[in-house]
């Protein structure tokens, strides 16, 4: 690590002191404290990680420091936040805070997708900060902006300056956010889950980037994450939060070596480690709950005078797989390779070709009415829990909805059933009457899981379903999923970018690239003996939850990035698959 370069390490020089911080949110029942009496000090040049379960107040703490708590719902009810020069931030005026923001403290928000202004070019969003704080002149601004983009290693930086956020991939947007945050070389950088939305290879790159910047500029970093692998890789010190209170604070190595509190211990124990997962019992493969053959999903790209389809985006191309009852198939691959699309096709939410059989029943060519009973058997937990919940309906009603729609329960029976579901995913049933925005990201994810379980489906598509959960909750949710699988013989299509989690849950793994499966086989075959170069690269990027262990650099990408868009009539060349071991298929490397 780079700790030695920071002279501050020898004699810690505090840059920010938080003492006795409490944050309250307004609820119909009155104020509720979500952060309570939190105190810590940030020292120059170090990386402090706030870890802890989801909903424990991590984001609230970060927003409190920035003076950006959602008004009028949340407010600082006690405590002080003080910069090294004595500037008090708690309760400071907007004018005073403006001077501090971006110049001295800046923040990367949890959601990179919505944090950029959709109608402003990247270049302007960048130069705006520079000009506002008079870091450079108007003439120099574009040059500086370009430099910043280069610093965060965005490809084709010149072109990006003129592009709009929606034209960039999630990873790129995250980098733009980082570039904005770093524009004025702040003393302190707060990064709230900077990599949650990214696949491992991109995550590795982003983390490396933050480290490099810290190296160059001596920036102090307050990092919020639930991923203990990331903690191990990045942190100098760690604060473990729970229910808005500090559970434990310790240097990273100490914490990982000898956690003091039971909660920290539980947290660390729950960290999945790749290659350490126990072997799973082989399910019997006589029947298949999900049987997909030659599945293709193409999105038409229109153009021309008559608005005819001129090209197609081959999101999924000729995919075959089967999932037996009680079996989990994990789907991994780079962002945008078509994973979620496969999931949606299983539910007929996108137009598809090929054959999908759920529990033996063919879905192709059925009318929506005929589809309804079949659909019941397959449910999906969507990737973005925030977006997949209706902001205007209480979560209880939303979980109850599938039951109501299919007429499965009503009255008190419905009530009991929903309460049971809430309890099963670890949410107190009295939260049923709340609205989605009153929950943290991880809590929402569990609500979605509860909703998917409501219909007792035979198969569940879990799209990044545990990505926002802290490890301990994650572990419990995974346990829950496993229990259900054992009890009811559920089949899972488990989509994730977290290889360690996949290692734990999957019976078989399929690796996708550009809409096609490039490698598939049993978990051990794929994860322990990866054959395709892409699989290898993916595995090399997985962070290791051990601060003493240094991860080797990520393998470079082989060849250029492909595009799934093809003119009409021109088909994507399909990879030829070779069976190199029983059940272990690998795409022809030449293809």
């Amino acid at each position: 690590m780079t700790a030695e370069e920071n002279s501050g390490r020898a004699a810690p020089r505090p840059v920010l002191t938080v003492s006795g911080l409490s944050v309250q949110v307004a609820t119909p029942e009155g104020a509720k404290t979500v952060v309570e009496d939190l105190s810590f000090t940030l020292n120059h040049g170090e990386t402090l990680c706030l870890a802890g379960e989801s909903g424990s107040g991590k984001s609230m703490t970060a927003l409190a420091i920035m003076g950006l708590l959602p008004y009028p719902m949340a407010r600082i009810s006690a405590g002080s936040i003080r910069l090294a020069d004595g500037t008090e931030l708690a309760g400071a005026s907007e004018r005073a805070l403006r001077k501090v923001r971006a110049m001295r403290i800046s923040m990367i928000f949890q959601e990179p997708m919505t944090s950029l202004n959709p109608v402003m070019t990247i270049g302007r969003q960048l130069s705006e900060v520079l000009l506002e704080h008079k870091v450079c002149t108007r003439a120099e601004a574009p040059g500086r902006a370009l430099e910043l983009l280069r610093d965060v290693q965005i490809t084709e930086a010149e072109k990006r300056l003129g592009q709009y956020p929606h034209e960039l991939s999630g990873g790129m947007r995250q980098r733009v956010m980082i570039a904005i945050a770093l524009a004025c070389s702040p003393e302190i950088l707060i990064a709230d889950e900077p990599t949650t939305a990214l696949d491992v290879t991109v995550q590795a790159e982003v983390l490396e980037l933050i480290r490099a910047l810290q190296r160059e500029h001596g920036t102090t970093v307050l990092m919020i994450t639930h991923d203990m692998g990331v903690v191990a890789e990045m942190a100098d010190r760690v604060i473990v939060l729970r229910n808005g209170r500090q559970e434990e604070a310790a240097p990273v190595r100490t914490l990982f070596a000898a956690p003091e509190t039971p909660y920290a211990r539980e947290l660390l124990d729950a960290v999945p480690r790749i290659g350490e997962a126990p072997a799973r019992p082989a399910p019997d493969r006589v029947r298949h709950t999900v049987d997909v053959e030659d599945l293709s999903v193409r999105f038409p790209m229109r153009g021309g005078i008559l608005n005819r389809v001129t090209a197609q985006l081959h999101a999924v191309e000729g995919v075959d797989f089967r999932i037996a009852p009680g079996e989990t198939l994990a789907l991994v691959g780079e962002s945008g390779c078509g994973k979620s699309t496969i999931g949606k096709a299983l539910l007929s939410l996108v137009p598809w070709q090929g054959s999908i059989r759920i529990d033996g029943q063919q879905m192709a060519g059925l009318s929506p009415r005929a589809l309804k009973p079949i659909r019941r058997n397959v449910q999906m937990v969507f990737q973005d829990p925030g977006a997949s919940l209706d902001a205007r309906m209480t979560v209880g009603k939303q979980v109850a909805e599938p039951l109501v729609v299919h007429g499965l329960a009503s009255g008190s029976e419905l009530q009991d059933r929903v309460e049971w579901l809430f309890r099963r995913v670890g949410l107190p049933p009295d939260h049923m009457d709340r609205f989605p925005h009153e929950f943290s990201g991880g809590q929402r994810q569990r609500i979605c899981i509860a909703r998917a379980l409501a219909l007792r489906p035979k198969a569940i598509v879990a799209d990044e379903s545990v990505s926002a959960l802290d490890v301990s909750v994650q572990a419990r949710v995974l346990d829950l999923l496993r229990e259900l699988q054992e009890e009811e013989g559920l089949a899972y299509l488990f989509i994730s970018h977290d290889m360690a989690v996949i290692d734990q849950v999957a019976d078989r793994v399929a690796v996708m690239n550009l809409g096609q499966i490039v490698e598939t086989g049993s978990r051990d075959q794929v994860l322990r003996d990866p054959q395709h170069s892409y699989t290898r690269r993916l595995l090399s990027a997985v962070p290791i939850p051990d601060p003493t262990h240094l991860r080797p650099p990520v393998l470079p990408r082989e060849g250029p990035v492909g595009s799934p868009v093809r003119p009409l009539g021109e088909d994507v060349t399909r990879f030829a698959m070779q069976e190199i071991a029983p059940g272990h298929w690998v795409a022809d490397r030449a293809a």
Binding site: P28, G244, K344, P428
Partner: protein, 301 residues
């Protein structure tokens, strides 16, 4: 396994919402209480008109005009003054409430429902249905409504029903266009996909999930529509489709007297005030209703 619950379990009653609760919330806030009161008063005036009018609203009283034939300003005898025929303005305003409420609330309400239906349908289904509906909306926007009025006026006996129908036919367009855009973006949101996956019927998706998100736009357009329709009624009646003299409506009173407003301002001011009050009251009510229903605005420290 209860995992993260920092809250003390609240008394479950506080969360229950029903009509009585909404009413209490509305009365608790001064703004909505005001709106509600005005609306109740106006409805009351419309229903009880025969009993509360101080004079016969159609009586062209001899002492209601000055000797030169000018209307009289407000006085102790005629609270709001008299009109150009010597009739008591206050009584006419009260009677006019009937027509204006039917137009501003009912006809406008039909227009709102129609507009919302077309806009939401077009936005949700998109494709050729949406295309056809929206082009039809464009067509209606350019439709010569006055001409339709003239034709109807000549063919049918004038009645409130026809004017209400014309207004409903013409006024849904703006609503449709605005809701179309909003629905189109809503329909692509993931939580709607979820509903499809669950197997919710289209009606359920539209009613339970899309509609609540459009409530504010509907309130804005619906309440603004009150004023415009009440005035539009006057124009249409003028062309012979709507209520005919001597039946008063707020719009008619303004319309008949607007050229006199420099000389007899009360003839325009009071009916105008009534229209503003009606629209404003519904808006206040709508605003507060929205605030109480908007989960993000609830709660207190």
């Amino acid at each position: 396994m209860v995992m993260s619950d920092a809250t003390i379990a609240p008394p479950p009653v506080a969360r229950k919402r029903n009509a009585a609760w909404v009413l209490r919330e509305l009365l608790r806030r001064p703004r909505s209480a005001f709106g509600l009161t005005v609306i109740v008063l106006m409805v009351g005036a419309a229903v009880l008109a025969p009993w509360i009018m101080p004079y016969d609203p159609n009586d062209q009283m001899f002492d209601g005009l000055s000797l030169e034939g000018a209307p009289l300003p407000p006085s102790a005898k005629f609270w709001l003054g008299t009109d150009l025929l010597g009739r008591d303005l206050f009584s006419r305003l009260i009677l006019g409430t009937q027509t204006s409420l039917i137009i501003g609330v009912l006809a406008n309400g039909i227009a709102v429902v129609l507009g919302a239906t077309v806009g939401i349908t077009a936005g949700y289904f998109g494709g050729w249905i949406g295309g056809v509906l929206m082009r039809f909306t464009d067509l209606m926007m350019a439709f010569p409504a006055l001409l339709l009025a003239i034709v109807l006026a000549a063919i049918f006996k004038p009645s409130l029903l026809i004017v209400a129908l014309v207004i409903a036919m013409v006024n849904w367009v703006q609503m449709a266009r605005v809701l179309y855009t909003e629905t189109r973006s809503l329909a692509q949101r993931e939580f709607i996909d979820v509903q499809r996956a669950i197997g919710s019927s289209t009606w359920r998706i539209l009613g339970r999930h899309i509609f609540p998100h459009l409530v504010y736009s509907i309130i804005v357009f619906g309440t603004l529509g009150i004023s415009t329709t009440v005035l539009l009624e006057a124009t249409l009646s003028y062309l012979g489709v709507g209520v005919q003299p001597p039946t008063p409506s707020w719009g008619n009173i303004i319309f008949e007297n607007q050229t006199y407003f420099a000389n007899a301002p009360w003839l325009v001011f009071f009916p105008g005030l009534a229209i503003v009050l009606l629209a404003l009251s519904f808006n206040l009510l709508g605003d507060v209703l929205r605030d109480t229903l908007d989960p993000k605005l609830k709660g207190r420290h």
